[in-house]
Structures are given as C-alpha cells and as structure tokens.
Subunit: 152 residues, 2 copies
DNA sequence: GGAAATTGTGGGTAAATGTGGGTTAATTTG
DNA sequence: CAAATTAACCCACATTTACCCACAATTTCC
C-alpha cells in the first residue's frame, strides 16, 4: 500500500465522504472495503487504515507495558477511538459523529495519503497547519539522523 | 536518468502541460509515462519524479519514526502532496489544482531538468529566484566541504 | 525555400465519478 | 412496546474527467 496525495472532499449532509475513485480498487482488493478510523494523538485529525493494516498496529499498541502511563494514554486514545467503517456501494464512508467532532470536520475536508494510511483533516485546519510546516526552517537540529542525509 | 535543461512551457486552460518531446521517450521507457508530482518544501515549486524513482524515496520517508514531529512534518508535506500523474496520448500532464495553487502556476511555467527529477516553477518566480541566486555572493563560508573542493 | 514530419494547442464527447436524496431496515429512547 | 431517530442501501441526476481527434505552429530535411 502506498497511499499518497491531497484530495479536497466535501462531506454531505449525512456526514458521508466519497473516497476518490483512484483509491477504491486498492482498498477493495486489500480489505474488501473494511477500514478503521481513529484519532491522531498529536494533531486534530483522523487516521484511516485498511483493516489489515490496523490490526498489526493494534497488536503493537496492546503489547506496550500496561503500567507505563504514556503507554496507557496511547492505548486509550488510539484503540479507544478506533471505529470500523465500511465503504458503501458508492464508495463512500460514513464518519461517526464523535470522530467528526474531534477533528472539527464540517463541509470541506481534506484526505491526505500517508503511505499505509490516510489522514482526514478539516480543510481550514490543514491549510493552517501546512503553512506552519512550511514556515518552519528545517533547522537540522531536531531532525533524526535518517532525515539529515536524505537526498531527494 | 539524467534530466537537464530549462524549458519554458505554457499551461492550457485545463491545467495541462506538454512535456518537451526530447524527454518523452526516456520517460515512456523508464516508467511507461507514470510520474509522481509533489511539492518542494523549501521553495514554492513542484518536484516531478518518474514513478520508480519516487517509490524508493517514499519508502525512506515512511520508515521515519511516527512520533517524531520533524518526521511527521516531512511525511505530511512530501507524501501528503505526492500525486500520481500519467502522460496522456499527446505527451501532456494534467497538474492537479492543489499543486498548481501551491506553486502559483498560471499560464507561463518553467520545467527544470534536475537529474533524477524535474522541477516545475511559475516563470515569474523562477526568474526572480534565479536573480537572487546570482546576486548572492558565494562567500565560501557556509559551503559544505564537498562544495569547497568541487572542481568544475 | 518549400514540403513533410513532428510537436504544441484547443476543444468535443462519452464514460466515470461525485452528489443528493428517498425508502427500508435497524437501533435507540421514552 | 411504540415512536423516533439513525444508519444502510439503492437509484437517479449533475458534474467532472479522461480520451480522442483535428488543427496550428514549429522544426527538419531535401
């Protein structure tokens, strides 16, 4: 799975979002349209995984030490908010209200391909966040080593 | 792949750009016309890779640690904007609106060969940026060692 | 310099996609 | 248990996109 790209999408009155057609075949083949949405713990956006991808992640999260507060926090947030979602016959997803609220999703949203998953943002918040990212000089200081030497 | 050269190009009303003929055979042979465009994080321009070249880059970026902010930033910016594009029967690319907006592309654009990839600039911005580059004294101070000893 | 080939440009049309909503089934609530 | 709300499923229309063809401009070759 190599999801990528920006996709501006409109939520309809029922809270449904149409998955762009170019991703549908991949999703159908890989997980019969069964997806899992949860929240991102660092930003007010949602994460959307094909079921199979999510399951391996959930196992890793569950395996974290139960008496470590940071681990418990992650477990409660990620697993706690993870919701099964299926594509309907028209290639649309119904996003549950609690998740829509968390990410502040209204009419205009953005679907971001991120490799093995997607991110779902309110368009406003995405544009604002992107501007912040662009403004940040990537002052090599906090960059992981892998990044320092990355050649595009 | 060793793309090089400056190519002034016009976008048509639908946002399509004709790839100069001399690159077409190379692109067709190397990736059947499958390309990936994304943004440059330092300048308001786009990067255009043959699919195969891009995939190795995406793998490297995806492998970065998810809870590192600098890594997430790069992932969102680069993978988030990376969009698959195919040459049409006339050797043209349809540049998606979000990417055109980012780079401020209107009618007149410039395609820059850059080795394994191309850069796509608005002509105005390219000319201005080039002037800046030329105006900068290359006071050897901040040059990396590799550059100090480079012999042209 | 003229003719032929190649390249660049524009736009029409059919097919695919996105959007809205109606109806029935399921679930929740009083 | 009845009523109300929500979700699932389906159909139909509007819009967009991909694909194709035709012409204009340029370059190449004789």
């Amino acid at each position: 799975m190599q999801f990528r790209g920006v996709n501006p999408i409109n939520l309809d009155a029922k809270g449904r979002m149409a998955i762009p057609a170019r991703y549908r075949d991949t999703i159908t083949e890989h997980c019969c349209g069964h997806l899992v949405a949860t929240i991102d713990t660092e930003e007010r956006c949602l994460l959307l995984y094909p079921l199979a991808e999510w399951e391996v992640i959930q196992e890793k999260i569950e395996a974290l030490p139960s008496f470590n507060p940071a681990a418990r926090r992650i477990q409660r947030l990620l697993i706690g908010h993870a919701t099964d979602i299926d594509m309907d016959g028209n290639g649309r997803l119904l996003l549950p209200a609690p998740l829509r609220d968390y990410a502040g999703l209204n009419k205009k949203i953005v679907l971001l391909g991120q490799g093995n998953k997607f991110e779902i943002w309110s368009e406003d918040l995405w544009l604002a966040t992107r501007e912040e990212y662009l403004a940040e000089a990537d002052g090599g200081a906090e960059l992981p080593n892998e990044l320092q030497n990355l050649s595009l």
